[in-house]
């Protein structure tokens, strides 16, 4: 494994939710480092804080206490607009529930990040088409989400995550809503992207899916429980 640099470094990451008088501790001090070109699986029981961690890494959420460095830049503490810019340019996020715009075509859904990046319509279209080709959906560009299968929808979501050539592709249980055959296909897509050099961090419940990753981080009750790197796939 080449370690040409730390892409993500978090330390003492804490996230609390206030529910009236009660405080829910979703993360209780997470320290970890993720390097370029890694393929990391995050596991752990339900409620252990996996999604919370992913959302903070994905700049959709901010930590209560702690530091988060992305690409050598401290993210914790930057303003709302800067977070939006990072989400737009550094991060691709794939959700369990796809989160596609229901009325827009696959092509338009993939174009979306480029619209907010200020890319001209012509280049947008070309980049989005290329991203759809990368996930094997060149023939479904004009379909709307309800005209696509679950696996195809998730491919569109992956293409959308890729289209801005992000530093890191984050996926929170991307196969959680899919049957096993389709899951295997989607995992194949992630494997392929990793082989092309894409850094991937993926939350999953399933051991055989985690087994594809070189490194598995396990969370337990808001803390890192184990962090194992396996040689040879």
């Amino acid at each position: 494994m080449t370690r040409d640099g730390s892409l993500i470094r978090v330390s003492g990451l804490t996230r609390e939710y206030r529910m009236g008088a009660e405080t829910v501790h979703a993360l209780r001090g997470v320290d970890m480092e993720i390097y370029r070109n890694e393929y990391v699986a995050i596991m752990g029981p339900s409620g252990s804080g996996k999604s919370t961690l992913m959302n903070i890494i994905g700049c959709l959420d901010t930590c209560t206490v702690g530091e988060y460095w992305l690409n050598g830049v401290e993210v914790s503490g930057v303003g709302d607009d800067e977070l939006a810019r990072i989400r737009n340019q550094e991060i691709g996020f794939v959700f369990q529930t796809f989160n596609l715009l229901p009325r827009a075509t696959a092509l338009h859904n993939v174009e979306l990040p480029l619209i907010y990046a200020g890319v001209s319509a012509k280049i947008r279209r070309r980049c989005a088409a290329q991203a759809l080709e990368r996930v094997g959906l060149a023939d479904r560009m004009q379909h709307r989400p309800n005209e696509l299968s679950g696996g195809q929808r998730q491919r569109v979501a992956i293409a959308r995550g890729l289209v801005n050539e992000p530093s890191i592709l984050l996926a929170d249980e991307p196969t959680g809503n899919l049957d096993s055959t389709t899951s295997a296909e989607i995992m194949g897509v992630f494997d392929g992207l990793h082989q092309q050099g894409q850094t991937v961090v993926m939350v999953t419940h399933e051991r055989d899916i985690a087994a594809r990753a070189r490194r598995v981080i396990t969370l337990l009750d808001g803390r890192v429980h184990s962090d194992t790197v396996r040689e040879a796939a």
């Binding site: 959302n55 994905g58 959709l60 959420d61 709302d80 607009d81 939006a84 810019r85 989400r87 737009n88 340019q89 996020f93 959700f95 989160n99 596609l100 715009l101 009325r103 979306l112 990040p113 619209i115 907010y116 990046a117 200020g118 959308r160 801005n164």
Partner: protein, 415 residues
């Protein structure tokens, strides 16, 4: 997000909810339509009063010396009693005026208001409700009457109190099949026998009223039939419009001399042009123009609140969409602009539809009633500007609500 993209999104969103958008806009459409239609009708009337009515009543380049002003307008009882005490205009006073204005094209006397109406008949044909006016010969010059057949009235007809009559075009048309054969025929006006001396060329209609339904008699004959009117009027016609103002001053001076008024004593007569009528009309429209905006403003504000409501609903419905957009990098301003563009586009569309509806309404009024309509550019641009600013003002709150949404909460949102 580029403006064009925002506009495209906004239009698609409106197109996706056509019926809802329409009902949302009803308030604005009705208000704007009302504004455009009322303004169109008032503007049409303005032009009409200026171009037709004034000329038709007083005559071109003409003014009148009267006991009671042409348009009395809103006056109190005291002023009305003062008008009632004024002496009647006497024929001799016309001589004072004509001596003071030797350059006048014509100076005429005419029986005043109220104009009597009578049945006019020839053999077995009768025309009802014909206006009967008594005039001196120059009146025909003041009114620019052209003769369609026969001869106009002369000074001698008036002096000799000849039993002759000049017919308006419509009256002659109804009584006689052949105008030339009509000349010299004896007709009955309110039982009096008079001979047809001439027929006046068609004058057309003003505000739906025919200007051709009259019988014109020598003033002396008229007064023998109906008695002297309390409202006899002196009309003065000048060759050029530019001479009217100066001639009015000289007429006023002549009348003061005729009536032996001392300096400081108020005029007990009125020198009036159709300007007075126009002024009266303008005062009336000024009142309408202050009432209409108030009504429109209420409608617009109500319409704006409806838009705000619908936009809030739309933000609520599209919470997930907002979350998705934010998750791929939309900034607050991007979301805000998107929703603002939508409310502005919506309200401007309302303005446009209102203009179309108002225009149609004005045309309808113009067709079914004698009121003319004239669409003005300023009312159209005011309507459009109004629509756009309503969208902007009432869109700010929903748009900023949308912009402030937390991405995670928005993505988790279930309808």
């Amino acid at each position: 997000m580029p403006l064009l993209e925002g506009l495209r999104l906004a239009l698609r969103e409106i197109a996706n909810h056509k019926l809802r958008s329409f009902f949302t806009l009803l308030g604005i459409i009705v208000s704007v339509a009302f504004l455009v239609a009322v303004v169109a009708i008032i503007q049409g009337m303005n032009a009409y009063v200026r171009e037709n009515l004034a000329g038709a009543i007083v005559g071109r380049n003409a003014f009148q010396i009267r006991r009671i002003p042409i348009s009395v307008g809103l006056i109190d009882d005291e002023e009305w009693r003062e008008l009632q005490r004024r002496p009647v205009i006497r024929p001799e006073e016309a001589d004072y005026v004509s001596r003071a204005i030797p350059d006048a094209e014509a100076i005429a006397l005419q029986s005043g208001w109220p104009t009597p109406m009578a049945d006019v008949s020839w053999r077995n044909r009768t025309v009802g409700d014909v206006l009967v006016v008594g005039v001196t010969a120059p009146y025909q010059v003041v009114q620019d009457y052209e003769t369609a057949a026969g001869e106009p009235l002369t000074e001698i007809d008036v002096r000799e109190r000849r039993r002759v009559a000049i017919l308006g075009f419509d009256v002659a048309d109804k009584l006689f099949d052949n105008f030339d054969a009509a000349i010299g025929r004896r007709i009955r006006v309110r039982g009096f026998q008079v001979a047809v001396k001439g027929i006046v060329e068609k004058k057309g209609t003003v505000l739906g009223q025919s200007m051709d339904g009259f019988v014109m008699l020598p003033l002396t004959l008229f007064e023998a039939m109906y008695g002297r009117r309390q409202t006899t009027v002196i009309s003065v016609k000048m060759p050029e419009a530019a001479q009217v103002a100066d001639a009015m001053l000289r007429a006023e001076e002549a009348m003061r001399i005729a009536r032996q008024l001392r300096p400081g004593q108020a005029n007990d007569f009125t020198v009036d042009t159709a300007e007075g009528l126009i002024t009266f009309w303008q005062n009336l429209t000024r009142i309408i123009f202050t009432v209409v905006p108030a009504v429109v403003a209420i409608g617009i504000v109500v319409g704006g609140i409806v838009i705000m409501n619908i936009m809030l609903m739309s933000v609520h419905e599209r919470t997930r969409e907002i979350g998705i957009r934010k998750s791929v990098g939309a900034r607050r301003t991007d979301i805000q602009q998107q929703f603002l563009a939508e409310s502005v586009a919506l309200a401007t569309l309302g303005g446009l539809l209102g203009i179309v509806a108002g225009w149609a309404l004005a045309q309808l009024v113009a067709v079914v009633s004698p009121l003319p309509a004239r669409i003005t550019w300023w009312s159209v641009s005011v309507a459009l500007g109004l629509g756009a600013s309503i969208g902007l003002i009432f869109g700010v709150y929903p748009a900023s609500r949308a912009a402030r949404l937390d991405p995670i909460a928005a993505l988790r949102f279930e309808q």
